[in-house]
């Protein structure tokens, strides 16, 4: 009964939102899937999950883990008299892969979770180094490797996804980023003409805004079984706008290997 009431409440909320008519069948479908999925398991046996309301039966949720991928073109020409990064590596997209682990330390009523997160990734860009005489490119590669890391405060507004049929979780992250970088000259670390070695650390502020799509509705039973057996509460796909400005908080002796970009990935709450 409680489930049916909850589903009716959700549908009523949708009507109240005055959505365009074309969206109503779609949302009704989602609601149907969600309401079907609600009358589900509270335990698991050799035949799978069984019994009760899953949302009341979720295992404890303390963490989120993300696997992320995105475009990463560092703002390395910022503050320079020329554009050496663009001149050497070009305008092509470069990509980043990484992971993030968040501790969902607080649950804020009617909003979502809040806590610290740590992420780390890797990206590398390379090209044939130009000849010093200006006559085209040499056969020697030069590359820039970056290992971005960050510590951020993460707010995930999962109230909607938990309490309604809307499977979306908006979120925001704010914190400090730090990146190890290294320039390679062929297979060695590069050195400038004055002998300075081509590697260093850059740091600065960082934030991200994004949204996660809860995937549990695709296979509700499987989701509940996974939660009951592995403690994996929810799975999501996400997209985010990611901005890091790793210029040493305005210092001019840092190579700004931050970026302003998009990221996609999978997230799992545990």
């Amino acid at each position: 009964m409680a489930q049916r009431r909850r589903s009716r409440r959700a549908l009523a909320a949708l009507r109240a939102a005055d959505l365009p008519r074309l969206c109503i069948p779609l949302l009704a479908g989602i609601a149907l899937v969600a309401s079907t999925g609600l009358a589900q398991a509270q335990g698991v046996d050799e035949f799978g999950a069984y019994g009760g309301d899953s949302r009341d039966a979720d295992s404890p949720q303390d963490m989120a883990f993300e696997v992320r991928f995105g475009r990463y073109v560092p703002d390395a020409d910022r503050g320079l008299s020329g554009t050496p990064f663009r001149d050497i590596f070009g305008d092509k997209n470069r990509y980043f892969g990484g992971i993030e682990l968040d501790w969902q330390a607080l649950r804020i009523p009617f909003l979502g979770t809040f806590g610290p997160g740590f992420g780390i990734g890797y990206t590398k860009t390379g090209a044939a180094a130009p000849r010093a005489d200006g006559e085209g490119r040499s056969g020697q590669t030069t590359s820039l490797e970056i290992v971005p890391m960050y510590v951020v405060a993460v707010l995930r507004a999962d109230y909607l996804a938990r309490e309604t049929v809307i499977p979306l979780v908006p979120y925001a992250k704010l914190g400090v980023g730090l990146a190890f970088w290294r320039v390679n000259d062929a297979d060695e670390t590069a050195r400038a003409d004055d002998g300075v070695v081509g590697r260093g650390i850059s740091y600065g502020p960082q934030f991200a805004l994004g949204g996660m799509l809860l995937l549990d509705f695709l296979e509700p039973e499987q989701a509940r079984t996974t939660d009951a057996t592995l403690g994996l509460n929810h799975s999501y796909v996400f997209g985010e706008w990611y901005v890091s400005r790793l210029d040493g908080f305005g210092a001019d002796d840092k190579l700004d290997v931050g970026t302003n970009t998009w990221m996609l990935g999978l997230a799992f709450e545990l």
Partner: protein, 433 residues
């Protein structure tokens, strides 16, 4: 009396012990030799290689210096070896174990590698074990032996017969041939290095080595026409100009050096007069055709055309030869690669602005170096890597991971301080509650 009784007892005891020992030896092995398992090879040999194998590196180890050769050291034990000699035969056929069969099999099948008194540790130069080595111990055998299996037969002989003895055997294999030469070699210039790309279709290729040597001068001119009485017409392309009346002037095109008075012109290295091949065309170079005797000029009535020179596109070196095993001293880089995979590698430690001829050779799992690929010439040049470009554009970052430089800018500092103050205030408030 007492002492003589003691002595006789000791002698009896000794005799008894020796009789027991002798009986045991006969019982265990009869007459013969047993090969121990603790084989030894030269120091520094690749530990991953079988002790019972011979590679090209094993074969050439030490060159002509016997102290540096690779020896197969075989521990041996004997039973009833008194009055007998130890003989060791190598062969590819089981018949080598038997005197009569060995004679029938012939020299190419069985060859003797040792004869002498039985020793507990037999040291056999691995070079001597190879077919066709005979008594030769020069490295020349390493260039002719190929790849096969062989067996060493250890036997005790009295006179010439080993018929009544047990023959011990040791299975070995030898492989002195490297994979075939990589193809499609391309070279690109870097700073104090050259980068090479190639492909290989030989499944035995396990890894590759890059070899480089200063290239011979390109574009050396052809030789002049031979003296004529009527004078020849001018040569074309890189060939020499034909001789003039009474003696041709040498061709000096494509950077060649001029010769005079009908002498043969510059040779491939721009040195002495046409000595390298007699026609200025090095045997391994494509050069020479463009300016050779055929195109070196239509001579006068009795003149002959000039001899050829090395064209600008030619690439040659004094030591490195395509198709031949390259000398290790000219190795400039190593790389890994998979069977049949194309690969890339670099020759490092080169001088900028010096022209080098480079090639690639593949190695198999036994570290046998194959023949050298075709040569490609290129000149290392200065390049600008990203970090140099960054620094030239005014960037000041770098110096290592422990390098922290300037202070943050004022606005961010203020923001940081404000954040800290806010945090401290919240903590204080939390405590007061």
């Amino acid at each position: 009396m007492a002492s003589s009784r003691v002595w006789s007892s000791v002698l009896m005891l000794a005799l008894g012990v020796s009789m027991v020992a002798s009986a045991q030896a006969q019982t265990l092995g009869g007459i013969g030799v047993t090969v121990g398992t603790n084989l030894q090879r030269r120091e520094g040999r690749d530990q991953g290689l079988k002790l019972e194998s011979i590679t090209y590196a094993d074969c050439i180890a030490g060159g002509a210096d016997p102290a540096q050769w690779d020896y197969l050291e075989v521990p041996l034990t004997y039973s009833q070896s008194q009055g007998r000699k130890l003989q060791v035969w190598a062969g590819t056929d089981a018949r080598c174990a038997d005197d009569a069969d060995r004679a029938i099999a012939g020299e190419g099948i069985c060859w003797q590698v040792f004869t002498g008194d039985p020793v507990r540790e037999l040291r056999l130069p691995v070079r001597r074990l190879l077919p066709g080595a005979g008594d030769a111990t020069t490295p020349a055998i390493c260039e002719t032996a190929q790849q096969d299996q062989l067996t060493l037969f250890f036997m005790l002989v009295r006179g010439t017969s080993s018929d009544d003895t047990t023959v011990a055997q040791l299975e070995m294999d030898y492989d002195l041939i490297g994979p075939s030469a990589p193809t499609g070699v391309a070279v690109n210039a870097g700073e104090e290095r050259l980068t090479l790309k190639w492909s290989s279709s030989d499944d035995e290729s396990d890894r590759y080595e890059v070899f480089c040597e200063e290239a011979l001068a390109p574009g050396t001119g052809g030789s002049g026409g031979s003296p004529t009485s009527t004078g020849g017409t001018a040569g074309t392309d890189s060939g020499g100009t034909a001789g003039t009346d009474g003696g041709g002037t040498a061709g000096a095109s494509d950077g060649g050096t001029a010769a005079t008075a009908g002498a043969s012109g510059g040779n491939e290295a721009g040195g002495g007069a046409g000595t390298d091949s007699g026609a200025g065309a090095d045997s391994q170079a494509a050069a020479g055709t463009s300016g050779g005797g055929t195109s070196g000029g239509t001579a006068g009535s009795t003149a002959s055309g000039g001899s050829g020179g090395r064209s600008n596109n030619a690439c040659g070196a004094a030591t490195l030869r395509p198709g031949q095993r390259p000398p290790a001293a000219l190795r400039r880089g190593r790389t890994s690669g998979g069977p049949g995979q194309g690969s890339t590698g670099s020759a490092t430690g080169l001088k900028n602005f010096v022209r080098y001829a480079c090639g690639v050779a593949a190695l198999d799992e036994s570290s046998n170096v194959g023949p050298l690929s075709e040569l490609r010439c290129e000149t290392p040049i200065e390049v600008t890597d990203y970090f140099e470009a960054y620094r030239r554009a005014g960037g000041t970052a770098g110096g290592g991971y422990c390098s922290f430089g300037q202070q943050p800018s004022g606005s961010w500092s203020l923001l940081g301080v404000a954040g800290l103050a806010l945090a401290a205030r919240r903590i204080r408030r939390g405590r007061s509650l």
